[in-house]
Amino acid sequence: MKQPDSIVFVVDDDSSVREAIESLIQSVGLRVETFETAQEFLRSKRPDVPGCVVLDVRLPGLSGLDLQRELAAHGIKLPVIFITGHGDIPMSVRAMKAGALEFLTKPFRDQDLLDAIQQALERDRTARQHQMETTELRERFDSLTSREREVMGLVVSGLLNKQIAGELGTSEVTIKIHRSQVMKKMGAGSLAELVRMTEKLGIPAAKD
């Protein structure tokens, strides 16, 4: 259960509730940081590890829903778990639509909160993994020469070497060399893998 590489942020204006949730989360071996206001949380320096936010809906000043919007606007993709003293349906619908992972009414079952936290951390970890892979792919793609990119685009669109050579007005041998260079630089083992990579990068196939 030990996950020292992840962190849970708790934002609640009530110190009693804050302390209780902090203790509960610590009891399952997770790292917790608590904040009294949304502003305080936004100002804080968050470590670059998988995390999630446990957020009270009603906060003085900037409300929980406002904070959720604010995080999204800042490109912070931390999963949000809402807790509320008196959750009404429209409010929870709004929160869930805005991407909240869970909406719990106080007092909640400890297991519900902890499950939601685990799920949220998992989601953030996956998202981060995905993000990291995309970044790496982007770096690899950036290391390609413009000619190689051209060739790659045509390869993933399903053209044969010969066709590509014709398309680019060069010899088949040259294309072969470019192609193997692309496969090596991108770290792709097969054509199928290369196609998936371009999809991930969002590069459209060059030509039909």
């Binding site: 509730v17 302390e19 203790s23 610590q26 009891s27 003085p60 008196h86 007092p107 400890d110």
Partner: protein, 398 residues
């Protein structure tokens, strides 16, 4: 009246008879001892004087006349005749008659004066008695009126206390959601702390320090929830006014606990600037709390439409004019226009669609019953300030 006249007639007649007998006796004695005219005159005069003094006017006149005749007949020469030879005797008899009549007249006048005085005194006494009776009656009436007034005042006070209670309960009704939250919050913390404690216990090596901390928090938060409930129960209860020595800052802080959630729900913030070490005031804790709650709620309502500046409630306390403490509740709302400022405190005056318009009216009557004042004024920049004074507890100062 008739009887009175006949009584007086018979009395006079009797006296005349007795006086005649006295004159006869005197005449006999004087004649026997050959008393001269002058001495006889004096002796006869004595009878006249005695009669006059004893209020016998008619007999006195009667005796005077008889005496003159007797003196002339028995003592003035020629004797046994009504004729007079000596002119001196004529003078003596005229002087005698004059003197006798004068004495009679003086005595009569004296009597008349006495009677008049008596009459005036009598009238005066009866008037005094009458006036005294009137005063006593007026006094009784006044006492009755005072009692009536006291009863009316007591009834008014009772009605006001009841009205205060009703509006208090209504306010509590408006605050239900916020108050429920105020209780739910520590209860949620209690539940979560309990769950955390169980988890710390269930570890392979139980973390007793963490369990202890969790249990301590449970006790604290349980008490907190209970305090909120007690406070609400006190407000909901129908209590007779109870004037005690109070720390006004404590009253404010307790009232704020009940409304702070409502304030933040309305997107407003609340700040307190309480002067330290204020003298104790004499007041009813619940009613003063009610006033603070009313004023804060009022301020929050006044800020509902404000979007271009922060919605802020500021509560201040400070000493005021040596014998009073002043509390001000300021908001950054729409403010008050002078046209409406006077009507604000009227019963049933409201700007809110859902309001009853009793809040400010009842607040003012509560403060007035405490011997203080409640008034509204515009703030320097935005919004309104509602301020009230409460006299300090003089028993405390002495």
């Amino acid at each position: 009246m008739k009887r009175n006249w006949s009584y007086r007639f018979w009395r006079s007649a009797t006296r005349c008879l007795l006086a005649s007998i006295a004159v006869a006796l005197l005449t006999y004695v004087c004649f026997r001892f050959r008393v001269n005219l002058t001495i006889a005159c004096l002796l006869y005069l004595t009878i006249v004087v005695l009669l006059s003094v004893s209020d016998a006017i008619v007999p006195s006149i009667f005796v005077s006349v008889i005496s003159v005749l007797c003196l002339d007949y028995f003592f003035a020469p020629p004797l046994f005749s009504l004729q007079l030879s000596d002119p001196l005797d004529v003078v003596a008899l005229v002087v005698f008659l004059g003197t006798a009549l004068l004495i009679t007249r003086l005595m009569w006048q004296r009597k008349r004066a006495e009677e008049a005085l008596q009459k005036v005194l009598g009238e005066l006494e009866s008037k005094v008695q009458q006036r005294t009776a009137e005063l006593a009656r007026a006094n009784d009436e006044l006492r009755g009126e005072i009692a009536d007034r006291q009863r009316a005042e007591e009834a008014l006070q009772k009605a006001q206390t009841e009205l205060a209670h009703v509006t208090r309960v209504m306010t509590l009704g408006e605050l239900t959601a916020s108050i429920a939250h105020e209780v739910n919050q520590p209860l949620a913390a209690v539940v979560t702390n309990g769950q955390a404690g169980l988890r710390w216990l269930a570890l392979e090596t139980p973390r007793l320090d963490e369990v202890r901390a969790a249990v301590e928090r449970i006790v604290r938060d349980g008490n907190r929830a209970s305090e909120v409930i007690q406070r609400i129960r006190a407000l909901a209860r129908k209590n007779p006014t109870l004037m005690v020595s109070l720390d006004i800052n404590e009253v404010i802080t307790e009232a704020v606990l009940l409304v702070r959630r409502e304030v933040s729900n309305q997107g407003a913030s609340m700040r307190m600037e309480l002067a330290p070490a204020l003298p104790a005031v004499l007041g009813d804790r619940i009613q003063l709390q009610q006033v603070v709650v009313n004023l804060v709620m009022n301020g929050v309502d006044a800020m509902a439409t404000i979007t271009n500046r922060p919605r802020e409630i500021l509560i201040q306390s400070q000493p005021h004019e040596t014998r009073e403490v002043l509390v001000a509740v300021r908001d950054s709302g729409i403010g008050i226009d002078s046209e409406r400022a006077d009507r604000l405190f009227n019963a049933f005056f409201t700007t809110k669609p859902s309001g009853m318009g009793m809040g400010l009216s009842i607040s003012r009557s509560i403060i007035m019953a405490h011997g203080g004042k409640l008034w509204a004024s515009p703030n320097a920049e935005h919004g309104a300030a509602f301020q009230f004074t409460v006299p300090i507890d003089s028993r405390d100062a002495s």
